[in-house]
Structures are given as C-alpha cells and as structure tokens.
C-alpha cells in the first residue's frame, strides 16, 4: 500500500501543527517520522489514521482518497504510545476485538477468530499470556499485545506512535530489533513516530525529519546522518559540536581568527555556524590543526575517550566535547591541536 500526502495543513487554534506537508511512502516501507516534541509528527500520523482531519490537503492510499473514509474504514492498524489496551478484557479478547466487531457478512466464526488470535500471539511470542488482563503485564508485553491487536484486522498500513517511548532503555533496544525483524516478516507499509534519533536511524529504512510543522529532510539513515540538509537536522541527529563563525570572502573566522584548512565552501557571507561531529575531530600535537585547545577533563568508556577541550580561539571560553579513539591517551592540561575531518557550515539563522 502506497501513501501519498499532499500539502497537509492542520491548525489547533493559533498554533500551526502542520504547515504544508508533502510525503510519499512506498509499498512495504518502514518509515520513521523523527522530530522534537511539537514538530507535528504525531498529528501527521493521526491524520493518516483518520483520528484527526487536516484543515487542507489530500491523503490518498494507493491513489484512492482516504479522507472520504473514517478511521474504521481505512484498515489502518494504530499502536498508541500508552498502549490503549481494553483493561476489562483479557489479552485474548483485546486481540480478538477487531475481529469481533467486523460486519456480520465478513466476520470470522468463533473457531476462525481463535485461530487468528493464536497466530498473532505466536507472532508476538506471548501465547502464554492469553488469559491475563492488561494490568498484569509489563510495559513491553503490553506494547506487543497492542501491536498484535492492531495487526489482527490485517491492516493495509501499520502506524505506531512513539511505540517505545514509555519503556525503559533495555526493553526499548530489544523491541527495536524485534520490530525490524517483524516488519521484514510481514512487510506491511509501516510508519512510526519517534523523538529518539537513535531509534529512527536504527530501525527505519527511511527517515523523515520534521521541525515546526514542516518536513526538513527525507532520506535513508546514512543520508540524514552524513549529509544533513539544515543546521537543525545536523544538530538534532547525532551529537554535534557547534561553533559560531564568521564567513567573509571565502574565509572562515572564529572569534576574529581565520581557521586554516576550513573552506567556506560556498557558504553565504555573514554570521554562520560550523558543525562538526564529535568523532570527526582529529587530535594532533599542538599547532597541528586548524583549532587548538587545552584538555580540561577526560572520561573514558567503551571504545572512545570523551574529552572536554577549552578552545584557545574565540573569547577563550568556548568548551567543546570531542570523542577520540583511545590509542592516544589524553590527559587534563594537555595542549592539543584539532583538525575536523568533516564539517558543515550553515547560515546562523537556519
């Protein structure tokens, strides 16, 4: 099932939640809507599901106008952040709900319903919980039951709103991998909303980055990570060092001092921001790079050492955090040279 959104606008009073959103989702895709809270991603998901209606714009599924249909007619599975399980029903009845409320003409008989629910319980690997009530389950189990319930109606599209938002870090990691393998198994067109960039990059085939009601970039995880389209995307995805610089006549200056080996690369003249990934900062002896600084503090864990470096340039107060490999031990007080391997310059107001 393909989804096409054309110029979706949605306002809540004076607040514009969605400001002209265009999006095409290919059949079988696993797409992440990524953005900070208030960026409109959940509103967009609810509009696709038919739980909210846009003020303007078009929504079509396989070229067919979806706005003419209510939520129940769209055959869209929706998984809520807080599960929204029916607490007076057992796990079994929760999953069976969508099958039991079908019109009589297409409704399965009791044996058919039982077989389908059992199949779904096996799919989410929770068959042993079928007689429990939702309040007897852990958060991760509830989320999987909510997913099974949404899949029971054989949805054409699966939508998940912050599916792992309410879970603790470890369970979240497990469920991410599980969701990805589940998607490759059932390959239904799926969209999930998240504010967690790691989750989006790790799970999705394609990431849609949203900010203030607009889509700012669409791309594969590596595209949005390696080639962020705007300063916002660079700052939001991955951890970045941001330095306020001045661009004039092809020369980049930090606090009045020109930075050697950093080209303006066609960036417009004026106040700008220099973005560097933490791990893209090459450490060398003092005087070897375009930046110089004193190590203030070092923390070592895993494969990297994270150092706070007070830059000599600028007002002498700029402190940045870099990730350096552990082969060259850094110590507080060291004077080091820094050379960005990769960097991007965006105009300051972006």
């Amino acid at each position: 099932m393909t989804i096409e959104l054309k110029h979706i606008v949605k306002k809540f009073g004076a607040f514009t939640a969605l400001d002209g959103v265009d999006l095409k989702v290919a059949d079988g895709e696993l797409l992440a809507l990524l953005g900070p809270s208030g960026s409109g991603k959940t509103t967009l998901l609810r509009i696709i599901a038919g739980l909210d209606w846009p003020d303007a714009g078009e929504v079509s599924f396989n070229g067919e106008n979806a706005l003419a249909q209510g939520a129940g007619e769209r055959h869209v599975g929706f998984v809520f952040q807080h599960y929204a399980l029916f607490r007076h029903m057992t796990v079994f009845e929760n999953i069976a709900f969508g099958l039991r409320v079908q019109p009589r003409a297409i409704r399965k008989n009791e044996a058919g319903i039982r077989a389908r629910v059992k199949e779904l319980l096996d799919l989410v690997q929770l068959g042993w919980l079928s007689d429990r009530y939702p309040n007897q389950l852990s958060g991760g189990q509830r989320q999987r039951i909510a997913l099974a319930r949404a899949l029971a109606i054989e949805p054409r599209i699966l939508l998940l709103d912050e599916p792992f938002g309410a879970l603790d870090a470890k369970v979240r990691k497990e469920l991410r991998q599980w969701l990805r393998s589940l998607h490759s198994e059932i390959s239904v067109t799926s969209i999930f909303v998240t504010h967690d960039q790691e989750e989006a990059l790790e799970v999705a085939n394609r990431v849609v980055v949203m900010d203030r009601g607009r889509i700012v970039q669409i791309g594969t995880p590596s595209e949005v990570y390696d080639n962020p389209a705007t300063a916002f995307v660079h700052g939001f995805i991955g951890e970045s060092i941001v330095l306020p610089v001045e661009v004039s006549q092809g020369c980049v200056r930090l606090g009045g001092r020109p930075l050697l080996d950093i080209s303006a690369d066609g960036a417009a003249c004026g106040a700008s921001k220099l973005f560097i990934r933490r791990h893209d900062m090459q450490v060398g002896p003092a005087g070897s790079g375009s930046l110089e600084g004193t190590v203030a503090h070092v923390r070592s864990f895993g494969p990297v050492q994270r150092a706070e470096v007070a830059l000599c340039a600028g007002e002498g107060k700029t402190v940045i955090e870099i990730d350096a490999p552990r082969d060259r031990a850094l110590q507080a007080g060291d004077l080091i040279g820094l050379q960005p391997r990769r960097y991007r310059i965006f105009a300051a107001q972006d």
Binding site: A71, F80, L85
Partner: protein, 278 residues
C-alpha cells in the same frame, strides 16, 4: 521521629486512626443498632414472627424494597445518560445543569415531597395532563417511585462522573481504528469500563431510596397495603407506643438492606479485580 522506635512504618498513625475509626463507628452506628436489636428481644419469637409476617408489614416491605430497586434501576440508566451529556459535551449552562444534579442532596426531603405532590396532584402542572391520560401519580405507588427517583439521581451521577472523566479517550480511538462502530465502542468498551462505578452508584441510590421517608410520605397517599412504605409503618407503630413492633420491622429492614448492600459490594469487588481503576 524518635530514635528508639523499633519498626517504623512509612505510613505512621495506624494505631491512632484505627482507634478513632472503631470508636467513632461504635458510638455513631454500632451501639444504636445494637440497641435496636436488644429492644426486639422484648418480643418472643412467635410475636416477632407474627409482626414481621403480618400482611401489612410484608406489603410495606415489598413496596419499600421493590420500588427502591425499580427507582435505582431507572436512576442507573438515566444517571448514565446525564453523566455522558455532562462529561462529553460542551453546551450552554452545562455548569448550571451540573449543579442542579446536587439539589436532591441538599433540599429538605419534606420540601421535595410537597413540591412533587403538588406538581403531580390531579390539578398540578404534570398531574393534570397525566390524569387526562388516565395515569394517577400522586397518592399512589407511582408517586413513591417518582420521589425515590428524585432523591437517588445524584448518587449515580456523582459516582460515575469522575470515572468517565478519567477514561482515556485513546481507548475509544483504538476501538474506532479497529473498525468498531459507535454502538460497539459504547457497549463493549466504554460501559464495561464503568461497571464498578455504575454498581456503586446503583447501590447508593438503592440504599438511599429504601431509607427515604420525608419526600415519600407527602406524595404516597399512605394507604396500608397499597402505598405505605416500611419506614412510615415504623413511625406509625412508634406513635401507637408499640415500640417493640416498630423495632421488629426496623430489624428486618436493617438485615435486608445489609444483605443487599453486601451482595452489591461483593459484585463490585469482583468487577474491580477484573477492571482495575488504574
């Protein structure tokens, strides 16, 4: 915060509050009720049985319990409808209607009785058109039924209202996206979630109607065996100085009420274990 305390609870004050609770319940409820039972021991078992199974007593009890049950059922249905309107929709004067629900709580019951009986009397605003249809309300059992509905309505509304307010709108959206019609959503998702609160509201309205005296006696007509409620029969026996007779009827009412409320409570506990409030 004494340093010598051995086991300390994070919720201190158990002894104090438990002691106060027991003392208070004893003084206010248990001792007067014990007095009631003691008084009935002035009667022999045969006398007691004779009073309790007399035609007039049985009819009075039947009227009290039967009409109270019917009134509580009506309140259960209409109270739910009222709660739904008050909670789910925004309309002019909603807060005023919300406040009106509480009037039966505060109004002296005799005032309510007088107002209802003049309204439903044969020349009254509602009584006259109903009389034209051949329905006589005032001074008949229907009048008792109406007074009982009047005093019971706030109990259902006030118990169910907070639960409906807290009901997560997402569960309705989930039902809708699973293809449920509005009818299915209301009857399979929303109402079942309200069952514990509905049972409590029903029990309270029922109990209140059984004990109601003031408003009913003005509208009932108080014909023995036809429109005489048990509390009135107790008052009549008292005015005849037949105290033991009065307490015998009271004991039967007490035991019956207790059994009913206990049964509803059990039912509610059972529902609550299946439908936790959180």
């Amino acid at each position: 915060m004494s340093a010598t305390a051995g086991r300390r609870s994070t919720l201190p004050g158990f002894g104090l509050t438990m002691g106060l609770t027991l003392t208070w319940l004893s003084v206010i409820i248990l001792i007067p009720l014990a007095g009631l039972f003691l008084k009935t021991f002035e009667l022999s078992l045969d006398q007691f049985w004779g009073i309790v199974t007399s035609r007039r007593t049985l009819n009075a009890l039947k009227i009290s319990f039967g009409l109270s049950f019917a009134a509580a059922l009506v309140n259960l249905v209409m109270g739910t409808v009222i709660v739904w309107a008050l909670v789910r929709y925004r309309f002019p004067a909603r807060r005023l209607f919300d406040a009106i629900v509480d009037i039966p709580f505060a109004l002296p019951t005799a005032v309510a009785g007088v107002a209802l009986s003049s309204l439903f009397a044969q020349q009254g605003w509602l009584g006259a058109p109903l009389a034209a249809l051949g329905i006589k309300v005032a001074f008949t059992p229907i009048g008792i039924f109406i007074a009982m509905i009047f005093i019971g309505i706030p109990f259902v509304v006030r118990t169910v209202q907070p639960v409906l307010i807290d009901l997560d709108p997402e569960i309705e959206e989930a039902a809708a996206s699973l293809g449920a019609s509005r009818w299915h959503t209301v009857f399979r998702v929303i109402l079942p979630s309200l069952i514990p609160a509905l049972l409590t509201g029903f029990a309270l309205a029922f109990a209140r109607a059984i004990g109601e005296y003031g408003s009913v006696i003005f509208i009932a007509g108080n014909l023995p065996n036809v429109s005489e409620i048990a509390p009135l029969l107790i008052v009549i026996r008292l005015s005849e100085f037949r105290y033991a007779d009065a307490t015998a009827i009271a004991v039967v009412m007490l035991v019956a009420s207790f059994l009913i409320i206990f049964a509803v409570n059990r039912l509610q506990r059972w529902a609550q274990t299946r439908i936790p409030t959180h």
